[in-house]
Symmetry: C2
């Protein structure tokens, strides 16, 4: 047995032993309970699960102070950020309840029997059904929004899938508290025994993914971690979907017009985005394309000044400190890269690092600078003219986001830039910064490899699609159909004989 300990990153000291690592047998027992809960959770129906989600939201709100306090002690992200993160999570649970009420997510379709140009067609009725128990991996950087509570858990429960959660080792006490709150509230709201499960430890995470009962995996983390889990899935007798949100450089392009108009403001705001949450966002701008010349200089000078004014930032755990130091050194030492600015030197105990600003030229951009480095560092790439800009964009990997900062009313160059960025991103941001990912109907948080490995999102209402699969009933008598597919039902939007019909 190995202790699971809670560390205070401000001091680097262990505060308490939270749990023991979950054993292989315990993982199997929890997964068996989750499998047993699946049909009951599905049978709650949209109304029952909407009510369950609202209860979970209220239960978290009722314990807001305790949750924020323990999360702050474990992550050093601060009460403001963590309070906002909890607000996001409780809102998200209620939004998924709205998604259930609205019902479009079922993609219900009815084709009545009849003749077609390809011959007679039987009665066909299609909608989405839950996959079964889902494994969710908590992320280090969102203890409340991508962890025990958060987008994966909310969307999986909404879809009707029991959720087995692997607690992140960076915040086991927060995970335990949130789990206890959700588990108790879930039972009171009628969720079947086994609807939620919690495991601790790397080995338990691997065991979880190998369990036959697990029908999908949601993961937010590194490419290396994602690949390791994918390899486990590839060895299962039955492969299951893996939804990985893995790595993202999040390039930002500052046009010459924008630099000219408001270079200093842009520079200051950019560093605000880079250092938000100590640079530990998957949407942190990791590479900024800035024009050569005086206008661009104003951006870069403001960035450098802002970095120098920034106090040391406390990172989430010792592993992130180590990888920040290793990768940022690799970037800084790459050919053609210079260090522009560094924040105040770190002094004292704890897991703090100094923010770092690097620069290179587009014409000689080394491949090292296109690697994601978690933490407060970014690379300014100076471009002289559009050809250099487009050449550099052509070297970028795919990201969750790409941003364009334009001059007032400027459209021609931004359009060309957008066309080149489009194949490399899942979200195009204009005149703003990529950090801050609203939970909404039109949000998309995904993109081509390596940002994700699927065509799905982990933020926004369409995240529910990950945990559902289509099913068609052919020639089924009404008694054997789900209510939403019977002729008389009118509670949700449906496609009937090809035409979308609203309630």
């Amino acid at each position: 047995m190995n202790d699971v300990v809670s560390v205070d990153p401000r001091t680097g000291q262990t505060v308490e032993v939270v749990a023991q690592e979950t054993t292989t047998d315990e993982v199997a027992q929890l997964c068996a309970a989750a499998l047993a809960a699946a049909s009951g959770l599905d049978a709650l129906g949209r109304v029952g699960r909407a009510s369950l989600l609202r209860s979970l939201s209220a239960a978290l709100e009722a314990r807001r102070e305790d949750i924020v306090a323990i999360a702050d002690r474990e992550t050093a992200l601060g009460p403001t950020r963590l309070g906002g993160e909890l607000t996001r999570t409780t809102y998200q649970l209620r939004l998924f309840a709205d998604v259930l009420d609205e019902g479009s997510y079922l993609e219900a379709a009815i084709d009545h029997a009849g003749d077609t140009p390809m011959g007679p067609r039987p009665d066909l009725r299609r909608m989405l059904v839950p996959l079964g128990p889902v494994a969710v991996f908590g992320a280090s950087n969102f203890p409340l929004a991508f962890s025990v509570p958060g987008g994966d858990t909310a969307s999986a429960l909404a879809s009707g899938c029991p959720v087995m959660i692997k607690a992140h080792g960076s915040h086991p006490a927060t995970s335990r508290l949130c789990f206890e709150i959700l588990d108790e509230a879930g039972r009171k709201a009628g969720a079947p025994e086994g609807t939620l499960g919690l495991v601790h430890g790397l080995r338990a995470g691997a065991d979880l993914v190998a369990q036959p009962a697990i029908r999908a995996v949601g993961f937010t983390g590194s490419v290396t971690g994602g690949r390791a889990l994918l390899e486990i899935i590839e060895q299962r007798p039955e492969r299951v979907p893996f939804f990985g949100e893995l790595s993202s450089l999040n390039p930002v392009v500052v046009t010459p017009h924008a630099a000219n108009e408001r270079g200093t403001t842009i520079g200051r705001e950019l560093i605000g985005s880079v250092t938000l949450g100590a640079g530990q966002f998957c949407t942190k701008p990791g590479l900024v394309l800035v024009p050569a010349g005086a206008a661009g200089d104003s951006v870069v000078d403001a960035m450098a000044a802002a970095v120098e004014e920034t106090a040391p930032q406390v990172l989430l755990n010792a592993g992130i400190v180590e990888s920040f130091e290793r990768i940022s050194a690799r970037l800084a030492q790459a050919p053609e890269v210079e260090t522009l600015a560094r924040g105040a030197a770190v002094d004292g105990p704890g897991l703090a690092v100094a923010p770092l600003l690097l620069t290179t030229r587009a014409a000689r951009m080394p491949p090292e600078v296109t690697e994601e480095c978690f933490g407060p560092v970014t690379v300014v790439v100076r471009y002289a003219g559009e050809n250099e800009l487009f050449g550099a964009i052509g070297e970028l990997p795919s990201s969750l986001t790409a941003a364009v900062l334009r001059g007032t009313g400027e459209t021609e160059l931004p359009l060309t830039i957008s066309e080149r960025l489009r194949s490399r991103a899942g979200r195009l941001v204009y005149d703003s910064y990529p950090t801050g990912v609203a939970v909404s109907w039109a949000q998309h948080h995904g993109g081509p490899w390596p940002s994700t490995n699927t065509q799905h999102t982990s933020v926004g209402t369409t995240a529910i699609r990950r945990f559902l699969r289509p099913m068609t009933w052919q020639g089924a008598p009404a008694e054997l159909l789900p209510a939403e597919l019977t002729d008389g039902y009118a509670g949700i939007p449906r496609r009937i004989d090809g035409a979308l019909v609203l309630p």
Copy 2:
């Protein structure tokens, strides 16, 4: 260089050399052309691509006689089946044109900027965009519906993705003719150079999947073939989606009531489904659960008589003959399995085999009988009581389909059976047979591994979703948005601030 030859399966003789296997360099050149075509095909827009699809449909119709004749010579599937298959394909092209006209497939959503319970939200607009060039693998058993023309090609072109097709070695001449017709019609209809490409040979197929320009793969074939292509994808620097339709047992359950009411009819119809297309359908019923006792005997006796009356059936190629003989022998020799009936002995040249009917008991069902065997063979599993029936269902792998044949008005047992089959199938068929997969809005042709490896369909209008990914524009000026996401646009259903709005 290796010859690509066309073989007549009725004689087993080579008829002509169709082409040379495509070299690695040629594959790379074709993929470069496909990549260059991508933005132009996207820019045709929904209207332009709908027109393109209708032109392709008309061009195939105009050459119907030539296409059916050459396909019959290469596959021995007969002019009636092949004429129907071409009708399906040309209808499908027109149906995807309708999908483009209707526009829901874009999943367009607009969230206007505003305050939310989690704080201010920027303007967010989401819709689906094409992935880029797609590789499609022709299937042996559908020379006209899952090959150069067919569901993958139609849905990929509709989505705006150029298509590189790997011709199946069983029908290279049919592939060449269809490609020439589609390529010429496409050019006339304004498709950019490189929109369609054709390659021949196993090595060329592997090269195709490894090409960086290829952004998704559509494959209909064996689990072994699918795994081999997945391994190539896993070694790419950038992983891409693989849509495999792989293996399917398609269990059929005959209830005691159904057997009692119309056992003889069911038995005869079942063998009709088993021997349709010489048993070379991915939806062939490969295992039939029949009650023990007299009523079940009437089903089985009719099946045996129908098998004995069936003439030898010509298979598509020597590889399928070999695997049919090998796997059906393994099934027949498994413990507790008996041979019930065999069709007339094969006499003469060509790739013919005799249909085969096997049987075993649910209480002692050996695992061998749950393996798919392509070709005219099925296994009857006799069950004595519901416990034996449910036990046998619990041993079945996932399939594309599962069918229940009920007594008139019977619902109780069918409901319990359906609940147990649901997690093991993508389509539940009542009082009919799984062969015959209508192309329509509510169709689903997919299911958990090993039937497919994704949550998508390869038949029906939602097949287009495979070749699209979501993209969100944040704070974009109207000039930089796709028309479908601008405020004034009203041509398609859209979700606006959470509410679905019809045109």
